[in-house]
């Protein structure tokens, strides 16, 4: 086997190249847990029909054309309480850009707990009352919070079990809102943490 000897200048070039690449990747500021799937890997989200606090029926499919952050939560869930102000910020910031937050409460005692909680926390997004059937549709939600980020075509772009960073959601929402309606020409980039994040090609 022939072993090629590397000259000192070429080793230096490799070190500089690797260091520059590391700096470029770090400067993108993409959190490690961004999990937006490649468009071809995304599956169509199950549809559901649930009531909101006013008694109105809400179907997930009504939100087709919008990016939806679908959050399963409960009033007794501490980590969910951390996320709620973030989701309120997102609702406020992105509402004019075809974006909506939907909160699905999994409280056993229904609106008795949920309505006062929504009022106390001044939740500005739509809250629905979940049930076991909807939980099953989404692969049996057995820990909270569990959050799905759904693209404009109604496909699940990412899923997070448990508390993740606010920045993670921001990146995912921005990516999906940035993608042109009706699909995009996209490329994939490996981000720190080894996950594939989906970025627009342009």
């Amino acid at each position: 086997m022939q072993v090629r000897k590397l000259s000192l200048p070429s080793i230096r070039r490799w070190i500089l190249f690797t260091a520059a690449l590391t700096v470029i990747i770090s400067c993108t500021g993409v959190p490690d847990d961004v999990h937006v799937k490649n468009e071809r890997q995304r599956k169509v989200s199950p549809d559901f029909s649930l009531k909101d606090s006013t008694g109105a029926t809400v179907k997930l499919s009504d939100y087709k054309g919008k990016v939806v952050l679908l959050n399963f939560w409960a009033t007794w869930c501490g980590p969910c309480k951390i996320e709620i102000p973030w989701f309120m910020d997102f609702q406020k910031t992105y509402k004019d850009r075809d974006f909506a937050v939907l909160g699905v409460s999994m409280d056993e005692d229904g609106w008795d707990s949920v309505k006062p909680y929504v009022e106390e926390h001044k939740m500005n997004y739509r809250v629905l009352l979940g049930n076991d059937q909807v939980s099953q549709l989404f692969g049996s939600i057995d820990s909270l919070p569990t959050t799905f980020v759904i693209d404009r075509e109604g496909r699940i772009a990412s899923m997070h079990m448990g508390l993740v960073a606010k920045k993670t959601y921001e990146h995912e929402i921005e990516q999906l809102l940035g993608a042109p309606k009706g699909g995009s020409q996209s490329g994939a980039l490996r981000v720190p943490g080894g996950e594939l994040a989906f970025l627009r090609a342009n």
Binding site: A74, T75, W76, C77, G78, P79, C80, K81, I82, M106, E108, S113, Y117, D142, S143, L144, P145, M161, G162, L163
Partner: protein, 150 residues
């Protein structure tokens, strides 16, 4: 030896998700006396349950109840909780984690008949780690009490 112990533990945990609840042993008692029964509990590492008096009304308290019926009356004593700092609350949260014991003071009625009585009970809890919470659970328990003649 260690592996066998760990395997047994994980199997036990699987029965109730993250809280290991042993089956209570029969309790010997006499009519008209009060007996103290300890229920040792163990949470899977990293998890905690709320104390019996969480400061936030939306949090689900740990609650052990017994339906002693004609046998007498039961009072449950909870240990002092640990104070756990959490991001969602300014004040530390009173919780139980690891191994802890609940004490039941069972006052046997003076007219209790000799024999074995199974006292039904319920343990309600809701477990979380620092990132996520599991749904509340209510586990049915049975406390066998063997009443002997005075």
């Amino acid at each position: 030896m260690l592996c066998a112990f760990l395997a047994a533990s994980s199997l036990s945990f699987a029965q109730t998700s993250v809280l290991f609840i042993p089956k209570p042993d029969p309790v010997p008692a006499k009519a008209g006396v009060t007996v103290e029964i300890k229920l040792p509990l163990q949470l899977r590492q990293g998890y905690h349950v709320n104390s019996d008096k969480p400061p936030d009304p939306y949090l689900i308290p740990l609650r052990l109840t017994w339906d002693a019926g004609a046998l007498g009356s039961a009072e449950v004593l909870y240990p002092k909780p640990d104070l756990h700092k959490v991001e969602f609350s300014a004040a530390p949260l009173p919780v139980y984690s690891g191994k802890f014991e609940l004490t039941t003071r069972l006052k046997i009625a003076p007219n209790a008949q000799p024999g074995l009585v199974n006292v039904p009970g319920k343990l309600r809890y809701q477990a979380c780690d620092d990132r996520m919470c599991l749904p509340p659970r209510t586990v049915d328990l049975t406390l066998p009490v063997s009443i002997s003649r005075q």
